[in-house]
């Protein structure tokens, strides 16, 4: 255990019970559901991701795209205005484009489906970044700059010249806790669980609400599913 403190554990009110992963099958395959009905585009998940994972300035493992042409701006759909956000991090694909192209297998799918990144093996060729259709991999171009003069979070910092990305907070998974982005969402728009269990919340939501995969036609089979909004936001033109 490092002397670092998780931003979640640092909160006195943090309830470990809230962060516990739902009961899982014997061989879990982790997945996430993002409910676009609930997402309010607040970037809380992105910010906590940065402190939990010690992500330097200028780099984001997690971001909130606005569907449309302008940030936080409604778009016109069939004459009506609609606004929806698309929180975007590594999709932990079933058929990842990135792991295939890595010349040294520094990025690889784990048994439970998490796409890992080994900062000690990575040679920094950035082929995975070229191959990823989601633009969620970030590279350490130079020495890390941080708003604090100390490291934060529960994972070691990555060296210059290597790739990094969302890990579904594997260090928290090992502790039976949900990823920090899921924990921090004030709208409970993110749900995490076991896709192998047909009765898990994620499986049920995907089934019942018609979960969609991003860029499904590329065949990467993301394990992050988006639930499209059910109703209009009530904005008139």
């Amino acid at each position: 255990m490092s002397d670092k403190v998780s931003p979640i554990e640092a909160l006195s009110s943090a309830s470990r019970a809230y962060g516990e992963i739902d009961p899982v099958s014997d061989h879990p395959r982790w997945g996430m559901v993002v409910d676009q009905e609930r997402c309010i585009g607040c970037w809380s998940c992105c910010v906590i991701c940065k402190s939990e994972n010690d992500v330097p300035l200028g780099m984001w493992w997690n971001r909130i795209d606005t569907v449309g042409d302008a940030l936080d701006t409604p778009r016109r759909v069939q004459g009506e205005l609609e606004m929806e956000w698309m929180p975007l991090a590594c999709q932990h694909c079933e058929n990842p484009a990135c792991t295939k192209v890595c010349p040294v297998a520094a990025t690889y799918p784990r048994e439970d489906g998490v796409v890992m990144q080994d900062a000690e093996r990575c040679i920094g060729c950035r082929f995975c970044m070229v191959a990823c259709p989601y633009g969620v991999r970030v590279f350490n171009w130079g020495a890390a700059e941080r708003p604090t003069d100390f490291d934060t979070g529960m994972v070691p910092p990555r060296p210059v010249g290597t790739m990094e990305k969302c890990t579904f907070c594997v260090h928290r998974l090992a502790d039976g806790q949900i990823p920090s982005c899921v924990w921090s969402c004030p709208a409970q728009a993110r749900i995490f669980g076991d896709l192998n269990d047909p009765d898990s919340r994620v499986s049920r939501l995907i089934r019942e609400r018609g979960g969609e995969q991003l860029l499904e036609e590329r065949g990467t089979e993301p394990r992050v599913y988006y639930l499209p909004p059910r109703r209009k936001r009530g904005l008139e033109t």
């Binding site: 200028g58 795209d65 606005t66 940030l71 192209v101 010349p103 070229v130 191959a131 171009w141 860029l215």
Partner: protein, 429 residues
């Protein structure tokens, strides 16, 4: 019509020595600057380049592709001459294989400054992951380098032996040696041509297998890379042959240049056809995955590059080369060669820039740039207009200067002139 080059008889003349020395000094200077820039880049990280997350490959990879392509000329001339009986290419075979060897060496060396952790380059051997086209490419680049180096040796070793050079590795210049050379040349040609085809195809597949990149993900990439390699490789071949002839190291008649020019015209036509076929297929649907990048090339921000490639790099040289009267004059063929060599460079730039510089998920704010940005500005980008930094130019220039240095010294020291001995070995020498 065809005249024997006037300088051919007085090789190694004194007046050339001064400009030769200046040339060497310039190359060493370029190499030193490049090394200095690379040391600086090593100390700071790739942050000193202008590559960032929204445009993660830049000048180094572009030039890698380009030099892989430039190496085509050599083995094509050597292998085709052998396999298809184009014996008139003989006077330039040695210079051709030397060019192939040096070009592919430059390409391989350009990968070193591109990777973020060159200190871990040995991981490529230790942890080689064979589903990666990069591993395939490193393999074929190594094989191709070895084949072309063997080629250079086999073609020059008899003359080296006659000079008593240690580079002959103890082989002689007897009739038996010549017969063995002949067998070896046959084997090399049979191995070299498929290796060349593979080299360009695999380099194309680094790009063409990426489902994320609409403009790249196309079965035409491998044929396109072979065609563009033949264009730029033959173009460079013609220029080098003329330069080395002027330096008095080889001699041939002008009609050889016209002959190569005719070949180049065919290659340019094939390249033009493939580019047209690619663009039509991509642009026809009008919008989406493939059409958007195509539109950026045709009428968008990269239109200048694209039309340069098409008009200056393909159309004008094709006219120069297809016109029989112009093709008869080596100066026009040389001019066309300069244009195609420049045109294919821009073609490579277009592939990389247009393939990478736009976010694949087209929603704002886009991809995080990767370095701390000034307060009040965004650290995301949906598109990123890349131009190389000074460090990138210096490092890439250093690698190219090193290659040119190797080529110049090898061209000076090695017996490049096709000797009569090759056909009629003198057992007593």
């Amino acid at each position: 019509m065809s005249t024997v080059a006037s300088t051919s008889s007085t090789a190694e003349s004194r007046p050339g020595d001064r400009s030769f020395r200046v040339w060497i000094v310039l190359l060493v200077l370029g190499l030193a600057l490049g090394l200095g820039a690379w040391v600086y880049q090593l100390s700071q990280g790739l942050v000193v380049t202008n590559m960032r997350n929204p445009m993660m490959w830049g000048l180094y990879i572009t030039l890698f592709m380009y030099f892989v392509g430039l190496s085509a000329g050599g083995l094509i001339v050597a292998s085709a001459g052998r396999l298809f009986g184009a014996t008139r290419l003989k006077p330039i075979v040695r210079i051709a294989v030397l060019e192939a060897m040096v070009a592919v060496m430059i390409a391989a060396l350009l990968l070193l400054p591109d990777i973020g952790r060159p200190d871990r380059a040995w991981h490529l051997l230790r942890y080689a992951h064979f589903t990666s086209p990069l591993i395939w490419d490193l393999t074929i680049v190594t094989v191709y380098f070895l084949i072309s180096a063997t080629y250079v040796w086999v073609y020059t070793r008899a003359d080296l032996a006659r000079r008593g050079s240690r580079l002959a590795l103890g082989t002689g210049a007897s009739l038996a040696d010549a017969q063995r050379d002949d067998r070896l040349k046959g084997i090399l040609a049979a191995v070299g041509l498929p290796a060349a085809i593979l080299l360009h195809s695999i380099t194309a597949w680094i790009f063409g297998l990426q489902i994320a990149r609409g403009f790249w993900y196309s079965a035409i990439m491998a044929p396109l890379f072979i065609a563009s390699a033949l264009v730029s490789g033959t173009g460079l071949m013609i220029l080098l042959a003329l330069i080395v002839r002027r330096a008095g190291k080889i001699s041939f008649k002008d009609d050889l240049i016209s002959y190569l020019g005719g070949m180049l015209a065919v290659f340019v036509a094939v390249e033009g056809f493939l580019v047209f076929s690619e663009m039509l297929t991509a642009a026809y649907p009008g919008a989406g995955f493939e059409a958007d990048p195509a539109r950026r090339l045709l009428t968008g921000p990269y239109a200048g590059f694209f039309w340069f490639e098409v008009i200056v790099g393909l159309a004008i040289p094709f006219v120069l080369l297809a016109w029989r009267r112009l093709r008869a004059d080596p100066r026009w063929v040389a001019a066309a060669s300069v244009l195609v060599v420049a045109g294919i460079l821009i073609h490579r730039v277009n592939i990389v820039l247009n393939g990478l510089s736009y976010s694949t998920v087209p929603y704002p704010p886009g991809v995080s740039i990767g370095t701390a940005q000034p307060v009040g500005t965004t650290s995301f980008a949906l598109s990123y207009f890349y131009h190389p930094s000074l460090v990138e130019y210096l490092v890439a220039g250093g690698v190219i200067c090193f290659g040119a240095l190797v080529f110049t010294i090898a061209a000076r020291k090695l017996p490049l002139r096709e000797s009569d001995h090759a056909q009629f070995p003198n057992p007593t020498s």
